[in-house]
């Protein structure tokens, strides 16, 4: 029972990260019907932005929670800017081209960020400074580090904030309208270019938060760290029904829990396959994901 609970806690903190990244995929897909392959690399950039900020502030020598929050915010702001820049320079010019073109552009941006990262940051892994002193709490035989707790709490707060933005604010309403039908939203006087840029900024900021959180728990960061994590987060988004925000959260948690559970068994080497296995099974039963609505096709 205790080991089971321990697995659940570890799975939740891993799943929270996937969910944070999956939200970015699902929001962009919601408004543009584009799989933003570069999103996993924005998460990587978030970790690196945090790395440079924390080093500039000298946080390695004197860790403090307050400054850690500043670093996270800073990294989120930087990545929001990068997200907007990517959209403006690469995706907007191909927005009216066939969807395959946009997809390949996204793949190109992803490659550019990965290889560019290797040139700028170096290919060898860096060690993220410990911004928050590691502590372990134990309750009823279950252990949780403060970093894991932080990940879960931050993810929860961010998701609630996102729900608020999407459902209770003007810009959120505009986002939903754009997602429903881009050209009609435009006709209704919504500045869709701004809405799309805002979506990218929001998604990229979430990915950056995920990047910094992961780097706190597992302090090895390298330019290719976003490849596999991004892919699995994308799978999480599809699992929940792509374009659906609560779906992305559930999908992330499901994949995190499954992966942690499998890591503890004799089949831990199959860890990287489990996300895809679950995905295929679910899509076979529900072709548009857990919470997705089946779109009827018109001729």
């Amino acid at each position: 029972m205790e080991t089971f609970l321990q697995q659940v806690i570890n799975g939740l903190s891993l799943g929270a990260i996937y969910a944070l990244i999956a939200l970015g995929y699902t929001m962009v897909y919601g408004v543009l019907r584009l799989i933003n392959f570069a999103h996993g690399d924005v998460y990587m950039l978030g970790a690196f932005a945090g790395f440079y900020l924390a080093n500039a502030l000298g946080l390695d020598a004197n860790p403090s929670v307050l400054w850690a929050i500043v670093v996270t915010m800073g990294s989120m702001a930087i990545c929001a800017g990068i997200g907007v820049l990517i959209e403006r320079l690469a995706y907007r010019p191909v927005r009216h081209h066939p969807r395959l073109t946009a997809l390949i552009t996204a793949i190109g941006v992803s490659l550019l960020l990965e290889y560019g990262g290797q040139v700028v940051f170096g290919a060898t892994p860096r060690f993220f400074p410990q911004m928050v002193r590691s502590e372990t709490y134990a309750a009823g035989g279950v252990q949780i580090t403060n970093q894991n707790l932080l990940i879960i709490v931050v993810a929860l707060v961010v998701m609630l904030a996102l729900e608020f933005i999407v459902h209770r604010t003007r810009i959120g309403k505009a986002m939903r309208a754009t997602s429903y039908n881009l050209s009609v939203a435009k006709l209704m006087g919504i500045n869709t270019d701004f809405v799309i840029a805002f979506t990218f900024a929001l998604g990229s900021a979430l990915a950056a938060a995920g990047g910094v959180m992961v780097a706190l728990a597992i302090p090895r960061i390298d330019p290719l760290m976003g490849l596999m994590t991004g892919l699995k987060a994308f799978v999480a988004a599809v699992l929940g029904g792509i374009g659906n925000i609560p779906g992305a959260m559930v999908g992330g948690l499901v994949i995190g829990l499954m992966e942690t559970w499998l890591s503890a068994t004799a089949y831990s080497t199959y860890r990287d396959a489990v996300a895809f296995g679950v995905l295929i099974l679910i899509l076979l039963i529900r072709p548009s994901g857990l919470f997705g609505t089946a779109a009827t096709e018109k001729v």
């Binding site: 191909v94 395959l100 390949i104 793949i107 490659l111 892919l231 799978v235 199959y270 295929i280």
Partner: protein, 331 residues
């Protein structure tokens, strides 16, 4: 075209390939081809097979598959496994060795056949979910399958696991590589011009309309998957048994699938000539950029990525669009 004429063309092709192969291995007079260039030319041939076969699914049938590396892996590992563990016995049947003469021909043909068949079975397994899935969902399922295949291979010690299939025997040569490439081009071209190909084109343009016109869309899509996977499996079998080029799970991940997609997109999706052109360009280009790499390490792949983005923005239909070389000779 009469049977005699067809046979003559086949004989001439085989003869031509054989002559090229001899020139390739032993040189012409004093001229000996640089082994580095020879290697690039061989890789071009393998990539042509991959690109043209993927073009059948992505270009002709209009389905978006990002799991081509998975089929290549299945075929490659099956073919190499046969050569490594049963090649000796098979070669002895015709009284030769694996590495030379009649023995090598028998082993190569059998291993490519086994590679193609096993990849085709994998294609069937991936094709069946496509009965229900469309667009992005299909794309992500193909990606998922290829990742699962990769992780499974990683866990089979008999084929080298994570280190790659280093026990492979280098029996691939110019003759087989370009023989398979020509075979692939011929098969895909004939399919394009057949009833089956027209039906696939209809599925690409409008699936519902095609169905209304009596095209069995799911069956055609699955067939396209199976054929394309089988051809990719042959490419895998060639690639795995090329000199000092062992298959390894790290090189057969989704980045490899993306590379093949980029080839057909740059060449012009839906065009066989385009796929050949794209495969050739994108195999040579990263090598040509190596000189840049010596001055600025790592910049080569950055340029490659940048080129891809610029291409998509300024010429999204690819170099050729849907045009074919044969359009020039059309009366």
């Amino acid at each position: 075209m009469g049977l005699v004429r067809k046979l003559a063309i086949v004989a001439a092709t085989v003869g031509g390939l054989f002559a090229f192969n001899q020139a390739f291995e032993f040189g012409v007079g004093d001229f000996q081809i640089n082994p580095y260039y020879a290697r690039i030319i061989n890789l071009v041939g393998i990539n042509i097979t991959l690109a043209v076969s993927l073009n059948l699914i992505n270009g002709l049938a209009g389905q978006f598959s990002i799991g081509h590396a998975g089929f290549m892996a299945v075929g490659g590992y099956a073919a190499t496994y046969l050569t490594v563990f049963h090649g000796e016995a098979l070669a002895r049947l015709v009284g030769g060795t694996v590495m030379s003469g009649a023995g090598s021909v028998v082993v190569m043909v059998l291993s490519l056949t086994v590679g193609a068949l096993s990849a085709a079975v994998a294609g069937l397994a991936v094709g069946i979910p496509s009965l229900r899935l469309k667009g992005d969902y299909l794309a992500i399922v193909t990606l998922g399958f290829s990742e699962i295949i990769r992780v499974v291979i990683l866990n089979i010690p008999a084929v080298g696991g994570a280190t790659g299939f280093t026990a492979a025997l280098p029996i691939t040569n110019f003759f087989w590589i370009f023989g398979v490439a020509l075979l692939t081009i011929t098969i895909v071209r004939n399919i394009t011009n057949s009833t089956f190909g027209r039906a696939l084109g209809a599925v690409r343009c409008d699936e519902i309309a095609a169905e209304a016109m009596g095209v069995n869309t799911t069956r055609h899509k699955v067939q396209a998957f199976v054929i394309s996977a089988g051809l990719a499996g042959m490419a895998g079998g060639l690639s795995g048994q090329l000199f000092a080029n062992p298959l390894s799970p790290q090189n057969l991940n989704f980045v490899k699938s993306i590379e093949v997609i980029v080839m057909i997109v740059v060449g012009g999706i839906g065009s066989i000539t385009g796929a050949v052109l794209g495969a050739t360009t994108l195999t040579i280009l990263p090598e040509a950029l190596r000189t840049v790499d010596q001055q600025f390490p790592g910049l080569r792949m950055v340029l490659y990525a940048l080129l891809l983005i610029l291409f998509m923005i300024f010429r999204p239909q690819g170099l050729l669009g849907r045009k074919e070389l044969t359009d020039l000779f059309r009366r």
